[in-house]
Amino acid sequence: MKRRVLVAMSGGVDSSVAAAILREDGYDVVGVAMRLAPEPFAPASTAPVAKRRGTCCSHDDFEDARRVAERMDFPFYVIDLRADFAARVVDNFVAEYLGGRTPNPCVMCNREIKFDRLWSRAHALNADYVATGHYARIEQGADARFHLLRAADDSKDQSYFLFTLGQDELSRTMFPLGAMTKTEVRARARALGLATADKPESQEICFVPDGDYASFVERRSDPAQLRPGSIVDIKGKRLADHSGVHRFTVGQRRGMGIASGERLYVREIRAESGEVVAGPREELDSSGLIANRVSLVDDSIASGGELSVEVKIRYRHRALPATMRVDSARRAEIRFAAVGPAVTPGQACVFYRGEEVLGGGFIERAITAERAT
């Protein structure tokens, strides 16, 4: 009997081609588009027809996915996971910003929705696998263990967002695009006559299409939860006031509202007191970090004590050589081999060894030179 694969389709070119490839390979493909965003930007009924379009989870995107399914002749459904997404991704996003951290909702969405909630649905629909259009590779070693690897196309590599996957998840997940470049994916889409072949990339966080995170957090919070306060320097001297810690990200330069001779960066956010500590570039240097909620692709690697890894502390950053140690409470201490850049609490840090993802966690705080002792 043909193996059934539930393919998560966004209406973009990547997931379209992922589904099409699996269909061509003979799998019993079932396409699903997930309705996730809590605030569909419902336009006024008098808006021009051409303006009645959202950017994600919109009618148009789902119709594009449906056209691909029709073209490739497999069933397609829209599923409503808005309540799960709100409870497990959006609420966390808001709470993290209110707590002075900078979350990465794509990591949470993968962990909580695509490779957890969607898997339950796959099981209910008798599917053997879940597939997505992520650029990453899964390989099974001679010892039957699964390995999560960077994509062949380094410029598109999305393995950073997938570090929460363990052996169980990897054994029933497929990333059909892992060995392809974006150019090859678009060429394949055109060759298959897919309607999505030339669709532009989506960049912003899907549920904040205008990119204005601060306003989004304010709309979804009780005003009493916001933490306004002062911007201070490292000695505690007040430099300016601000309207809430959720408006800042450690490492950011813009938006400080301070007329100062030197360029100031956010060094630390103290959510409890509402203090945002600013300083010159060199005060942001770090020597490592503490991560929590650490997960490993293969738990057996943790037994060896200290590990040499390369660590990525933001999606677009280069991986830095470091050593790491994981404790039994799933916290990790990472020491960079050289002085590192600003470490942003809330972001994911992902451990690599060459091509392979070993695991990752969420940044709790930086280790600065003074703290290291």
Binding site: R35, H59, F62, R66, D84, A87, S120, H123, A124
Partner: protein
């Protein structure tokens, strides 16, 4: 040909051919009835309806509310019945229109609307019945119901989509909503959909001829299916009246599963059921009808509608009576309804 089709369609509701206006479907018929009635009744500002109507009634009413009209939506009882007394209690000299569905599309409840006609008439309100779900399944007669306006849908009877009709009693005054030509006695401009109308006429005649036998046959299949599902699915609940509903409609609440998940799982097994109403993108919203009947959001999310048709056979019902419990067990096991998902 058009006039022959008009006569066929008129006959099924006991009307005269000249009283039938062809439209593009039930939605347009409902829009013509509502906007046509409030335009003609220039000073009256109130419309009475119910909470369990089809979206082609509810959406025009929401638009009228936005324009400043008063809209009263009467609540049903737990079986989906509208109490005529509650409608009459809110009727007054400001009421332009009373619009109610004869049979509910989701739970199959058939309303007792005959008592409303004379009071509407006495207060000068127009009385519109949306009979799209009822015609061809149960006997419908405009004289017995005493309504001024009645909506019929072609595709509900097996005609292709894109054709419907509005019955307009001779004395009823409504204004057109589409302008441009003298077609349909000035009530609906635009070249008529001749092919659609002919198919509508033929489908109507066929449905009328087969109605009694088919209703009995389908009703007995539906009762047998309900009995077998009740025996195999503990906690299964029927929404709508046990007797006196549309013979072909079963609305069922399946314990501890998301209806959406069951719907997809059944579709993949070749069993087509429906749920609530699909949004433009295809995702399913919890049924406003079940909510109005007092069901929780979780129960509404766990409910599916099974509609039997003239082409369903006893063998198919036997097969479905096996498939549905098996799928229910699998879905309940793999994806038990969580507090979050049921929101």
């Amino acid at each position: 040909m058009l006039e022959a089709a008009r006569a066929q369609v008129a006959l099924v509701v006991g009307a005269e051919a000249r009283q039938m206006v062809f439209t593009s479907g039930g939605t347009e018929s409902n829009n013509l009835a509502i906007f046509g009635a409030i335009t003609a009744a220039s000073r009256r500002r109130k419309i009475i309806s119910s909470e369990i109507e089809h979206s082609s009634i509810l959406a025009p009413l929401a638009e009228l509310e936005r324009r400043g009209f008063e809209v009263v939506r009467v609540a049903p009882d737990s079986d989906g019945r509208i109490d005529p007394a509650r409608v009459l209690a809110t009727l007054n000299s400001d009421t332009a229109l009373v619009t109610l569905g004869l049979a509910n599309s989701e739970v199959g409840t058939i309303q007792d609307l005959a008592p409303l006609a004379s009071v509407c008439s006495a207060t000068g309100a127009l009385f519109h019945i949306d009979a799209a779900q009822a015609v061809g399944r149960i006997p419908v007669d405009v004289a017995a119901l005493g309504c001024d306006l009645m909506t019929l849908s072609g595709h509900k009877l097996g005609a292709p989509g894109g054709v419907g009709a509005l019955y307009v009693r001779d004395a009823a005054r409504i204004a057109p909503i589409v302008f441009g030509g003298p077609h349909e006695a000035g009530m609906r401009a635009g070249t008529p959909n001749l092919l659609g109308a002919v198919a509508f006429g033929a489908a109507t005649e066929a449905a009328m001829n087969a109605m009694r036998d088919e209703s009995d046959r389908i009703g007995s299949l539906a009762r047998s299916l309900l009995k077998r599902l009740g025996e195999t699915i503990p906690g299964l609940r029927l929404n709508g009246p046990l007797t006196g509903g549309l013979p072909n409609t079963l609305s069922l609440t399946f314990p501890s599963v998301l209806g959406e998940s069951m719907l997809i799982a059944l579709d993949l097994e070749g069993v087509e059921v429906s749920m609530g109403s699909a949004c433009a993108a295809g995702a399913v919203e919890p049924s406003h009808v079940l909510r109005a009947m007092g069901r929780s959001i979780a129960d509404a999310r766990s409910s599916l509608r099974i509609s039997l048709g003239w082409n369903n056979t006893a063998d198919e019902i036997d097969a479905v009576a096996e498939t549905i419990p098996a799928v229910w067990r699998r879905v309940a096991d793999a994806e038990p309804l969580s507090e979050v998902s049921a929101r």
